[in-house]
């Protein structure tokens, strides 16, 4: 009788253990997939915003009209992921910029972009797109757009807490 109970217990334990392992592995895969997906989404989102800004800033840059370019960049305040956006002329002099009020870091256009432009810089805190603004093959200037991983991190933390809570209950 005792041997039967022990086998039953072992079977339950093995089943539960393998299910837990499978669940953990699945969660880990999902977690890393989410990281990659969110990163790609942020880059795509930034790229789209960059294209829209460039399309709307060509005249402003061509005529060096600061109020007009400031107005275009000002619309970025509705996107919480945007930390900084700057429009520079072809000599890399800043014409106008938008900076998220809570973001205090000084942003400088890397000098190595002069001439060619398009660049993607990624680190733990932000993703940055630098794109030349052209009109009829003439270089008018550059756009620097920096986006934050913050909202993504918050989402990941809440996801992690939910998984941990589910495991604890289980």
């Amino acid at each position: 009788m005792q041997t039967k109970q022990s086998i039953k217990f072992k079977l339950i334990f093995i089943t539960a253990f393998s299910s837990t392992l499978a669940l953990l592995a699945f969660s880990a895969i999902l977690f890393f997939y989410e990281i990659k997906f969110a990163e790609r989404s942020l880059i795509n989102n930034l790229q789209t915003q960059a294209d829209i800004i460039i399309e709307n800033s060509q005249a402003g840059l061509a005529f060096m009209d600061k109020p007009s370019t400031e107005k275009t960049l000002g619309a970025l305040k509705y996107n919480a992921d945007i930390l900084y956006a700057g429009l520079y002329d072809e000599t890399q002099t800043l014409l106008s910029r938008y900076q998220k009020p809570s973001y205090k870091t000084e942003v400088v256009l890397p000098p190595e972009v002069l001439g060619n432009g398009a660049a993607l810089i990624k680190n733990d805190d932000f993703v940055q797109i630098i794109q030349p603004v052209r009109l009829d093959n003439e270089l008018l200037g550059y756009l620097l757009l920096r986006g934050s991983f913050e909202s993504f991190r918050q989402k990941m933390y809440s996801y992690l807490y939910t998984v941990l809570l589910a495991f604890s209950i289980a």
């Binding site: 709307n56 060509q58 005249a59 402003g60 840059l61 061509a62 005529f63 060096m64 009209d65 007009s68 002329d89 072809e90 000599t91 009109l135 009829d136 093959n137 003439e138 270089l139 008018l140």
Partner: protein, 169 residues
């Protein structure tokens, strides 16, 4: 060259290039005006897209020569740019843009407004007399005012981007 074109510090100087009352403008001043004229074309659509954009300068050989040199390697899309100095005897449908560095005879401006021609001038009351773009000085910068009603009547479509930059003098 491009940086000279868009330097706001010399923007004010460009106005003198457009003003008949002042002394002969420097080459640098003229280059600013040339840049504005080039960009006006880039943000305007003609009823039929020309293979060659013809810039006509009203009675100013010096500025015509400068434009010819400045635009020699420039294109608008695929279209190259041709510049000529004109007087009132010109066949107007040969021009896509007419620039008036000096006083405009009102009847000539009226004649122009019947064609799809982008007229640009710095004479006071230019747009009221039937001109499309009036260049003027504001806050030490060269600004412009666009009379879009005249532009639309002549069949020109001016980009909303350019219209956004239009300022009341």
């Amino acid at each position: 060259m491009a940086s000279v074109w868009r330097n706001p510090m010399v923007g004010v100087l460009a106005l003198s290039a457009c003003n008949a009352a002042v002394a002969e403008p420097s080459v640098r001043e003229l280059q600013i005006t040339a840049a504005y004229l080039y960009h006006f074309i880039q943000f305007t659509e003609w009823p039929e897209r020309p293979a060659v954009f013809r810039y006509c300068v009203y009675q100013d050989a010096r500025f015509t020569e400068l434009l010819q040199k400045t635009y020699s390697d420039k294109t608008v899309g695929d279209a190259r740019i041709d510049v000529s100095n004109i007087n009132e005897q010109i066949k107007l449908d040969d021009c896509h843009l007419v620039y008036f560095p000096q006083t405009v005879p009102p009847d000539f401006l009226q004649k122009i407004s019947k064609y799809a021609i982008l007229s640009v001038g710095s004479q006071k009351g230019f747009t009221e007399s039937g001109g499309i773009i009036y260049l003027f000085e504001d806050d030490q910068k060269l600004r412009f005012y666009i009379n879009n009603t005249v532009a639309t009547d002549t069949g020109l479509k001016i980009s909303s981007q350019l219209l956004k930059l239009s300022r009341e003098p």
